[in-house]
């Protein structure tokens, strides 16, 4: 036997050692519980993680939303029925948050209802445009792909601090404006401009992710279909609306759902950038939940839990509608 062959056999034997050690154990287990139950055994680690970190918190959340006081331990929390929900929904006029007993909840909800559609529309529009540009034959394509993806890798706090540095009264943007002869603007002090920059910064931070997904979708469309369209007298616009968009629809749908969920969850960037202000102009749902649950004394876990459940229900309805639409399109 040659030396190399002997080494190969020896390493093979060592490599298969764990397998050989575990085999009798597995065989015994299979005999004990039956082959049909074996998949559950392999799923167990992941199932435990899901139960412990996803399902259990949901039930704890439901429990908290029906109990009161600022105590953390469930045994010390008195049952108060739907009081938390009644408090949240107690409103003189639903269109006027100041008539509600928890007016910030309604302001945050209103802000989210404007923020999410605006941000998602801007996000997908800009990401699609960027993806189309990057899909073309431009110089330095790889470089630009990297540039647009880069912000995605940054920590949200870094993103927020960077933009705060740009947007503050004595920031970079005002420095440039002053040099060009314009009056400096206190961007984050006015409600409308703060809201605009909230949308802008979050789009800037996450756009690269959606651009990459859309770019992959664009590249999956065969080139010869476009050539056939060219032979078929299709203008660029018609090729875009009649070929690109329909063929990109499944990818767009995924991007849309991800973007909406991400947008509803927006918290960290704005918490650092605007703190929800000025006033409550950029206060979104998740920040509201965080603040009444953990920041404001006394901590009102029950109310926060109720608010998060209401948000969860809204998201659930939205997801169901999405599923409906996506099934409809894949069938049609």
């Amino acid at each position: 036997m040659s030396a190399s062959l002997r080494i190969a056999r020896a390493t093979g034997a060592v490599a298969s050692l764990p397998a050989r050690a575990i085999e009798p154990l597995m065989a015994g287990l299979q005999k004990a519980i039956g082959i049909k139950k074996m998949p559950w055994f392999f799923l167990l680690p992941n199932l435990l993680a899901v139960i412990l970190f996803s399902l259990l918190p949901v039930f704890v959340n439901i429990f908290y939303s029906f109990t009161g006081s600022d105590r953390l331990y469930p045994s010390q929390r008195p049952f108060i029925g739907t009081y938390n929900y009644e408090t949240l929904l107690d409103c003189g006029n639903y269109l006027d948050p100041s008539t509600c007993s928890r007016d910030l909840f309604w302001r945050a909800l209103g802000n989210s209802l404007v923020f999410v559609p605006t941000q998602v529309a801007a996000m997908i529009g800009i990401a699609l445009l960027t993806a189309i540009c990057l899909n073309g034959n431009i110089r330095g394509r790889g470089f630009f792909r990297g540039v647009f993806f880069f912000p995605v890798m940054l920590s949200p706090v870094v993103v927020a601090l960077t933009w705060q540095w740009i947007l503050q009264r004595t920031g970079v943007l005002n420095g440039i404006l002053t040099n060009l002869g314009f009056e400096p603007v206190n961007w984050l002090v006015y409600a409308n401009s703060a809201f605009f920059w909230s949308v802008f910064v979050t789009v800037w931070a996450h756009m690269g992710f959606y651009t990459i997904i859309l770019l992959a979708g664009l590249q999956a469309i065969p080139r010869d279909v476009y050539e056939a369209a060219k032979m078929d007298s299709a203008s660029h616009w018609r090729a875009f609306t009649r070929i690109t968009l329909p063929l990109l629809k499944p990818v767009l749908l995924v991007v849309f759902i991800l973007a909406v969920i991400r947008s509803v969850q927006t918290f960290d960037e704005l918490y650092v950038l605007t703190g929800g202000g000025p006033g409550s102009a950029t206060l979104l749902m998740v920040q509201y939940i965080y603040e009444i649950g953990f920041a404001v004394q006394p901590r009102n876990f029950g109310l926060a839990a109720a608010a998060s459940l209401l948000l969860g229900i809204v998201l659930l309805i939205f997801t169901l509608v999405q599923l409906r639409i996506s099934r409809g399109s894949s069938n049609g």
């Binding site: 078929d232 299709a234 070929i243």
Partner: protein, 361 residues
């Protein structure tokens, strides 16, 4: 109905010259096949005619008018792609009508053209289906239908049958040929399959390395190939080549020797090959006939096709020679077979591989 002229067409991708220079004239109503091995530039040439690629220089004229600066859609040509390139999200009907909607043709006329094309190709019952729900052959028909609805002057086919199985390929070959007979349009067809070229073409253009090797009717190319490349490419199975040296070139004919074979005298006068010159003798498998004083060849494999047999043989020097025998051969591997070329059925090529013909009358 149109004739097409390519004048000094060249095409380079960056520094790579794909087509050095091509001149070609295709007359109205002809079925022309571009044939050649992979990378010979045949598809590029077709895409240049279609307007999907821009020529580096030269001119393309359709019916006398230069179309070199005319966009693909306005050249009056329609293309059938190798992959069919059907719009996957549209029904067959929408696939056929998309091009007509783009030029804002009235609805009634679109419907009329679509149903006419569908009837011609017998795909009426498929009109509401999506490409995904069609078989390869049906997709092929839809792709051809899409070209027909545009009523082009010239049809361009880019290896349209290469994705079909062998049986369907034969069927579609016949269908495309009969379609050409019914429509009468000029058609240009690209393939690497010389059988498709032989069976379908009025005129074959053999390409290699972006150059035209020979243009002619199928049998012209078969009977009088201009060089060893065309001789080897056209005809199936391919022609046998034997490297020889001229021993004597006299009134009695030309005597060749080579490959450890006995000298062979061909009764032809006036060939411009002096004694001592190298020459390649080309003989098709079907033109090697048994003769007692012919070349002794050793059979290495006898392929029985039923109606005929192909004997894979070897010269004493080891050059493989294929011999066609009508009917079912009794020869087995290891047997010795004596053959010589049938009268007049041989081709001689000089050192450069160019055909040598007797000079003078």
């Amino acid at each position: 109905m149109a004739n097409l002229v390519l004048e000094n067409i060249t095409k380079s991708f960056g520094l790579v010259e794909v087509i050095p220079s091509i001149n070609l004239e295709i007359t109205d109503g002809e079925f022309v096949v571009f044939v050649g091995p992979s990378g010979c530039g045949k598809s590029t040439l077709l895409r240049l005619i279609a307007g999907l690629e821009d020529a580096s220089s030269g001119d393309i004229r359709i019916d006398g008018e230069s179309v070199i600066n005319v966009p693909a859609a306005d050249r009056g040509v329609a293309m059938v792609f190798q992959s069919y390139a059907l719009y996957p999200h549209m029904t067959v009907r929408e696939n056929l009508s998309f091009g007509l909607e783009n030029i804002r043709m009235p609805k009634g006329e679109i419907e009329q053209r679509v149903s006419k094309a569908a009837a011609l190709l017998q795909i009426e019952q498929l009109l509401e289906r999506r490409p995904k729900q069609l078989s390869g052959g049906q997709r092929q028909r839809v792709a051809i239908g899409r070209a027909i609805t545009r009523d082009p002057k010239i049809f361009l086919f880019d290896e349209p049958l290469s994705n079909l199985d062998a049986e369907l390929r034969v069927l579609m070959r016949v269908e495309i040929t009969s379609l050409h007979q019914r429509l009468g349009n000029t058609m240009i067809y690209v393939t690497h399959d010389q059988i498709e070229a032989m069976t379908m073409a009025d005129k074959i253009v053999v390409l290699r390395g972006g150059r035209i090797e020979q243009v002619g009717a199928p049998l012209e190319l078969y009977n009088k190939p201009l060089n060893t490349f065309v001789a080897g490419f056209i005809g199936s199975p391919r022609m046998n080549f034997v490297q020889t040296k001229v021993v004597e070139n006299s009134e009695a004919g030309i005597t060749l020797s080579g490959e450890g074979l006995p000298n062979l005298t061909l009764p032809v006068q006036g060939l411009p090959l002096p004694a001592g010159a190298a020459a390649t003798l080309g003989i098709r498998p079907e033109h090697l006939v048994p003769s007692a004083d012919g070349w002794p060849l050793k059979v290495t494999l006898a392929e029985q096709h039923g109606a005929s047999s192909y004997l894979h043989c070897m010269t004493p020097n080891g050059t493989p020679i294929l011999v066609h025998e009508p009917g079912q051969s009794r020869l087995r591997s290891g047997d010795i077979l004596h053959v010589s070329p049938a009268a007049g059925e041989w081709h001689l090529f000089d050192e450069e591989g160019l055909r040598v013909e007797p000079s003078g009358p």
